[in-house]
């Protein structure tokens, strides 16, 4: 392959050095509003990508479907950011808009402060790792990795050096002359990563890249991806429907559903302090409890449960409930105790499931609803609880989180 006449200029965006200085101030109010009151904790640091009120509508007339319904989010530089949600939630659509394979119906996508939404993919310093890898079957591993640099018209020596560096980074030096059909799925994954990283993009997009790998390889690649992100310092935007994957790898997660971003936060935020029912339900196992708000102030509330017990709960940012509220208690944040007056809830053991590292107690509360308690196992520890036993449930002061819906 030779470079020739129609040379593309490297898509360097002109306004890079000035990035970060005036954006933080201008976009913050917009975003807080667009997120329906969810205030993302803003930290100093430049934004690599800012998605501003982006809508994407497919179809026309009566068949219109809003794949993205006014989404706004900021992704910081050098961040491992995950878009998490079930299939059809719009996460891949958002990724495609950032990559340039599709164009938003409305809104802006800023890369270091410049709107890239109208640019074709080959003019964006953003590269993608595809779910199917999309390696070029008529090229060798090394040719695949060098493709982006060739298209940018880089000098031959630079391409060779960079390809060698990339091969080393993904530990594929030995297989550089192979055709992509002659290497395994895990190796193809590494080549796809190296190919996307070789042109040193400002942002790397990863579209469920681990979904085709088996469990063990997927675990390995999760660690590998974190290492690559750390070593290259490139912003990663990772799309997945696997909540465990999202929790393990991400600096921050955006949980999406039905074309909207419901909550943005660190894995711990998302898991411990879900703001909405969907987020709580989608990530991990959850118990929902209905209650009445007795008092609420400063992000804390006291909630009276159906048993009459009053327990403290933390509130989502900027939300002060009154009247009925739903609480979330993670199974490992509740303890089984005696069924006495001190217990927050009382019920009967229905089922005990031993899972090696821990045991799940499936309980039936006195009001008829189900409740799960998870207890870590230790050798010789913990009393045996047979199905049918009466038990109490203790909910600690930091265990419950109130939901907005």
């Amino acid at each position: 392959m030779n470079r020739d006449s129609d040379r593309v200029t490297a898509p360097q965006l002109p306004s890079q050095p000035a990035c970060g200085d005036n954006q933080t101030g201008t976009h913050l109010p917009t975003r807080a509003g667009a997120l329906n009151g969810v205030i993302v904790p803003e930290q100093p640091g430049k934004n690599a990508i800012e998605v501003r009120s982006v809508r994407k509508v497919f179809g026309t007339g009566e068949n219109q479907v809003a794949a993205l319904d006014t989404v706004s989010v900021s992704i910081r530089e050098n961040e491992f950011f995950t878009l998490l949600g079930p299939s059809g939630c719009g996460k891949t659509t958002l990724l495609r808009l950032i990559a340039g394979f599709d164009f938003p119906t409305a809104g802006e996508i800023l890369l270091h402060g410049q709107d890239i939404a109208p640019l074709p993919p080959y003019k964006r310093p953003v590269n993608t790792v595809f779910q199917s890898y999309a390696l070029f079957p008529h090229m060798t591993v090394a040719q695949n990795i060098g493709f982006g640099l060739e298209m940018l018209g880089k000098p031959k020596a630079e391409i060779e050096a960079r390809v060698a560096q990339m091969l080393k980074l993904v530990k594929m030096e030995a297989l550089k002359a192979r055709r992509t059909s002659q290497i395994s799925g895990g190796q193809q994954q590494r080549v796809a990563l190296a190919r996307a990283l070789a042109p040193q993009p400002k942002v790397l997009l990863l579209d469920e890249p681990l979904s085709a790998l088996d469990y063990k390889l997927r675990k390995e690649m999760q660690i590998e991806l974190k290492r690559l992100q750390h070593e290259t310092g490139i912003t990663f935007i990772f799309v997945t429907h696997d909540q465990e994957e999202a929790l393990t790898m991400s600096d921050r997660i955006a949980v999406m559903s039905a074309g909207k971003i419901l909550q943005v936060g660190t894995p711990r935020d998302i898991y411990d302090r879900p703001a909405e029912r969907f987020v709580a339900d989608f990530i991990g196992e959850t118990n929902f409890l209905e209650g009445e708000v007795k008092s609420a102030a400063d992000g804390r509330a006291t909630v009276r449960l159906s048993t009459g017990a009053e327990i403290p709960a933390s509130l989502p940012e900027g939300f002060t409930p009154s009247g009925g509220v739903t609480l979330v208690v993670r199974p490992e944040h509740a303890q089984i105790g005696p069924a006495d007056a001190n217990a927050s809830l009382r019920g009967t053991v229905e089922n005990v499931v031993y899972l090696g590292t821990d045991t799940h107690f499936h309980l039936k509360l006195d009001d008829g609803s189900a409740f799960i308690v998870r207890r870590q196992n230790s050798r010789g520890g913990g009393e045996a609880l047979a199905p049918g036993s009466r038990v109490g449930i203790a909910i600690g002061p930091n265990a419950a989180q109130a939901l907005k819906d």
Binding site: G100, K123, F136, R195, P199
Partner: protein, 267 residues
């Protein structure tokens, strides 16, 4: 006893039918090839093996003339129709399905549906008018006519290939800074090459073989090899025809075999 699945080979008369079919298909061809090596002056008498008629045909200036014209015509028509077919295949596959797309497939494949004799007569009428207007009566008319009816044959393998090709590859090229033209040149075209070669060879064979349309379109003294042979058979029959037909057969077998291997090869 376990019931065996239906096996057509076990039916009575299968072997006989198979043999009959083979004879019907290959006996005439075998006879032609055998008689092309006949030393006799007559088509019906056997007089021993000889290359006499091959040599005679080789030195016949009318045969030389027709052969060169056939090759020029087939190469031009195959090249032009392959280019048109590649563009048509790209246009009909690299798009979202829309109403009217099926009609376009039918439109492109028109030569497969309209009887050749009808096209021949139609072209005769149109081209004779153009000949009067322009005064041009060269090989252009034949090239145009052959190109037109070769397009569907070149189109089919190319479209099939494009449809089975992963669109993500072109998207990946664009993602890696390839302009649409570069993505086509460095990704789509190399992956399409086997299908383009196959389409070209198919079109070449179809053009080389054509009698009906050529007969209607050709001007005086524009015999191709098939129309020359037909003309010869109308007069006295020379065994030279056998020799030419055998060479023709050999050429076709070579091309079809090459077509098979090119198509089978994975990218």
């Amino acid at each position: 006893m376990a019931k065996r699945p239906f096996d057509i080979q076990a039916q009575p008369g299968f072997g006989f039918m198979a043999l009959l079919t083979f004879f019907a298909l290959y006996l005439p061809i075998a006879a032609l090839v055998a008689y092309s090596f006949n030393a006799a002056d007559s088509l019906s008498r056997w007089d021993g093996v000889s290359l006499r008629w091959f040599i005679s045909a080789w030195h016949n200036s009318a045969v030389q003339d027709a052969s060169v014209r056939s090759l020029v015509l087939a190469v031009s028509a195959a090249a032009l129709s392959t280019i048109a077919a590649t563009m048509a295949a790209l246009a009909t596959t690299r798009t979202r399905p829309y109403p009217g797309l099926t009609f376009k497939y039918a439109f492109i494949n028109q030569p497969l549906m309209v009887p050749e004799i009808v096209t021949g007569v139609a072209l005769l009428i149109v081209f004779s008018r153009i000949k009067v207007w322009t005064g041009y009566s060269g090989l252009g008319y034949l090239i145009a006519a052959h190109t037109a009816f070769c397009i569907p044959f070149a189109y089919l393998p190319i479209r099939a290939r494009l449809e089975s090709m992963d669109l993500t590859l072109e998207r990946a090229a664009a993602d890696l800074y390839a302009t649409p033209w570069k993505a086509f040149r460095f990704v789509t075209l190399p992956l399409l090459r086997p299908a383009i070669i196959a389409g070209f060879m198919l079109a070449f064979v179809i053009s080389l073989d054509d009698v009906v349309i050529t007969e209607f379109v050709k001007s005086g003294g524009q015999d191709t090899l098939p129309t020359y042979m037909l003309g010869q058979l109308r007069r006295e029959t020379s065994p030279e025809i056998n020799a030419i037909a055998t060479v023709f057969l050999a050429l076709s077998v070579v091309l079809v075999t090459a077509f098979y291997f090119v198509n089978r090869r994975k990218p």
